[in-house]
């Protein structure tokens, strides 16, 4: 792959998925796109770039999906799910006692491990949630990934990464070499295609938003823009959960970290946030985003 092709792909991915590759990610592109090029009967990355420049629709989708699909596992990092079970849910259950309804959004639902992990947590606390209306919406950019999530079918390898054996026995059915999430759990989740760069106001407001390990791929302006829009979709007493390598600190005043709960954030009162001057570095960029 020559530098011109690399630059083209960088810009292409930035524009189409928000993926922000640094100047030294040639290996990543090659490892993900070379198999795709071969599968399409092309000689290599060069020819793939030509196809993209020619506007070949299916190739465009394939490239974006290949570059944005990430490996994930059940109960990834464990701690956020402990927070969800022991801290977030008890607080939400108390706050919604009259309404008896909870809405949760997995904003980077990927192949389904995260939404199903949350569904399992909720099932395990079903005694406290009898008669409640619970909605879990899992979104992802990639249609292919969503199909897998919807099917709830996982390989033996996948069900052993992070999933306790008791959960496997309780919530999965074995079919030959694969394991499928049971229908009751699958029915708890709605899967929808969504690009976080686009408007997501139509999803409504949520009590809990999991948005983990996706913002790391975006540049600072895009992150700020997404945080600000996420803030509009979250209840004032709701929770935002980010990935281990992600934070709002230094980017936006719309959320604040909960010190003793790593990765968990609460929305700030929008009026209070507006009254406080934004961080020096962030202010002009916010203005730029608003003008787009």
């Amino acid at each position: 792959m020559n530098p011109t092709e690399y630059e083209y792909l960088r810009k292409f991915l930035k524009d189409n998925s928000g993926l922000d590759l640094s100047a030294d990610k040639q290996y990543l592109i090659e490892s993900r796109l070379l198999p795709l090029a071969r599968k399409a009967g092309l000689s290599g990355i060069g020819e793939l770039v030509q196809k993209l420049q020619g506007g070949a629709r299916t190739v465009i989708t394939d490239v974006v999906e290949a570059m944005t699909t990430n490996e994930t596992f059940f109960f990834r990092d464990k701690v956020p799910f402990d927070h969800f079970r022991d801290h977030i849910m008890p607080e939400i259950i108390k706050a919604r006692a009259a309404k008896r309804s909870i809405r949760i959004w997995c904003a980077a639902g990927s192949t389904g491990q995260e939404p199903y992990s949350l569904a399992m947590c909720l099932k395990d606390m079903s005694a406290a949630l009898t008669g409640w209306r619970i909605e879990i919406i899992a979104t992802d950019l990639s249609q292919e990934v969503l199909e897998k999530a919807k099917s709830g079918i996982y390989s033996q390898f996948e069900v052993q990464r992070g999933l306790p054996i008791q959960m496997l026995m309780k919530y999965f059915k074995q079919t030959g070499e694969t394991w499928q999430v049971n229908p009751e759990l699958r029915a708890m989740i709605q899967h929808r295609q969504l690009n976080l760069l686009h408007d997501f106001a139509q999803l409504g407001t949520f009590d809990v938003i999991f948005c983990r390990n996706v913002l790391i791929y975006f540049d600072q302006d895009t992150k700020i823009n997404i945080f600000n829009r996420l803030a509009r979709q979250i209840e004032p007493d709701g929770f935002l959960v980010l990935g281990a390598a992600e934070t709002v600190v230094g980017l936006t005043d719309t959320f604040r970290p909960i010190p003793e709960r790593r990765g968990v954030y609460k929305p700030n009162d929008p009026r209070a946030a507006a009254a406080k001057p934004a961080l020096a570095g962030a202010a002009p960029r916010l203005a730029v985003m608003a003008g787009r």
Partner: protein, 129 residues
């Protein structure tokens, strides 16, 4: 340092398992079958046991039953690691006193996740590894 007893009749599997478990910070002892494993346990109870199912002389399930009836035999965390991947075997193992279950083939990520699940290694060690 915590000790892990690796019980498997295949020397190759023991070697692979040893490398993984040592990397997780354990001292490793090996046994070829259930009887040999019991001898080790009588001398000193390990903190962890990675246990194959199908072995000559005494299989993993028989070993588990005997271990759990021994004085102090309830202490080790027993993680099955076997080609028996049917739900019937899993249910039987968990009912028989196993703490976790690995379906072969396995890799470092799986062993790490399972050891973490039963509290043999802390989360921080996992992130650092």
């Amino acid at each position: 340092m915590k000790t892990c007893l690796v019980v498997d009749d295949s020397s190759i599997v023991r070697k692979v398992a040893r490398r993984i478990v040592e990397a997780l910070g354990f001292q490793v002892i090996e046994a070829e079958d259930g009887v040999e494993a019991l001898v080790h346990c009588k001398k000193a109870m390990p903190e962890a046991i990675l246990l194959d199912w199908n072995m000559p002389v005494m299989d993993g399930f028989q070993f588990l039953g005997t271990l759990r009836r021994m004085p102090g035999g309830e202490e080790p965390m027993v993680v099955f690691c076997t080609t028996e991947t049917g739900i019937d075997h899993i249910t039987k193992a968990m009912g028989g006193g196993a703490n976790e279950y690995i379906m072969k083939p396995f890799d470092k990520d799986i062993v790490m996740a399972k050891f973490q699940e039963v509290g043999l290694i802390a989360l921080d060690e996992q992130t650092a590894a």
